[in-house]
């Protein structure tokens, strides 16, 4: 009796089904970068328009502008998309240029902490402008 044919598969069926690949995160990072960049196309256009409008205005006018719910909403959406997109992009830059595992992890964590704090500071400032003036 001949042996039944076999195909050697190095990858488990579970690993294939999960679809996470060698990076262990699948296309999640790449996809989040695209989604935030699509969101940033209209938000950037609005932001440049808003920045030109705000240029040179006294503080009271900026407070009044940010007190409008539409402006506050778009500003918060912009901050969310910008800082999420930014940390995704900087992570790739760090991963490309720092080849040793420990310093790479340290740089990525430090960068993410810094970006998170900046994003929170921006968001809280907008909320304060919107609610308290």
């Amino acid at each position: 009796m001949s042996k039944s044919p076999e195909i050697a598969v190095m990858r488990s069926q579970l690993s294939r089904a999960r679809g996470l690949g060698a990076a262990h995160s699948g296309t999640g990072h790449w996809w989040a970068e695209r989604v935030t960049s699509i969101a940033l196309v209209p938000l950037t256009l609005w932001f440049v328009y808003a920045a030109i409008h705000l240029a040179g205005l006294p503080r009271a006018a900026v407070v009044a502008w940010a007190g409008h719910p539409v402006n506050a909403t778009l500003l918060l959406a912009l901050i969310l998309a910008v800082f999420h997109h930014l940390q995704l992009g900087l992570q790739v830059v760090i991963e490309d240029y720092i080849h040793t595992e420990r310093p790479r992890l340290a740089w990525i964590l430090a960068m993410k902490a810094g970006v998170a704090l900046l994003g929170l500071a921006a968001a809280i400032s907008v909320l304060k402008l919107a609610f308290a003036g």
Binding site: R34, V41, G56, G89, V93, L118, I124, V126
Partner: protein, 143 residues
């Protein structure tokens, strides 16, 4: 030659001399094609924009803090250094925007043929330059 592996790195130049081959892509010898130049510019402008968000955060925090803090950030932005940073930021923003839109088209599977890429190679920096100039014309005319 001291190492046998060096043998793989030796070639002949067009006039027959033995030369050490450059390690490819050697940036001093290999001329980057336009797509590669725009690609590294996309990355550089992205990092510059990341640094530029410090200005945005400073502005928002100052506006939410006090009149004095707002006066400080306003006078900095109106100083020559402030204007230079804002101009650089605008240029980086429009460049990253235009090159990013091309990337989105590529991600959707469009615009990969060489003739199209040659056109967009000019279109991306051209549009970024035009938008930067337009933005500053509006700013200066409104002021």
């Amino acid at each position: 030659m001291t190492d046998i592996r060096d043998a793989l790195m030796v070639g002949r130049s067009s006039d027959g001399r033995l030369v050490r081959r450059p390690i490819s892509p050697h940036l001093q010898i290999y001329r980057l094609p336009m797509t590669a130049k725009l690609s590294i510019s996309h990355r550089i402008s992205g990092v510059a924009l990341a640094a530029g968000t410090l200005l945005l955060v400073w502005f928002l925090v100052a506006a939410a803090t006090s009149d004095a803090a707002y006066a400080t950030v306003s006078s900095f932005l109106r100083s020559p250094v402030g204007y230079l940073m804002l101009f650089g930021w605008t240029a980086a923003l429009w460049y990253h925007f235009c090159a990013g839109v091309r990337h989105l088209f590529w991600d959707a599977g469009n615009g990969f043929t060489l003739p199209t890429v040659r056109v967009t190679d000019k279109l991306v920096p051209g549009a970024a330059l035009a938008l930067t100039i337009l933005t500053w014309l509006i700013v200066l005319l409104a002021a």
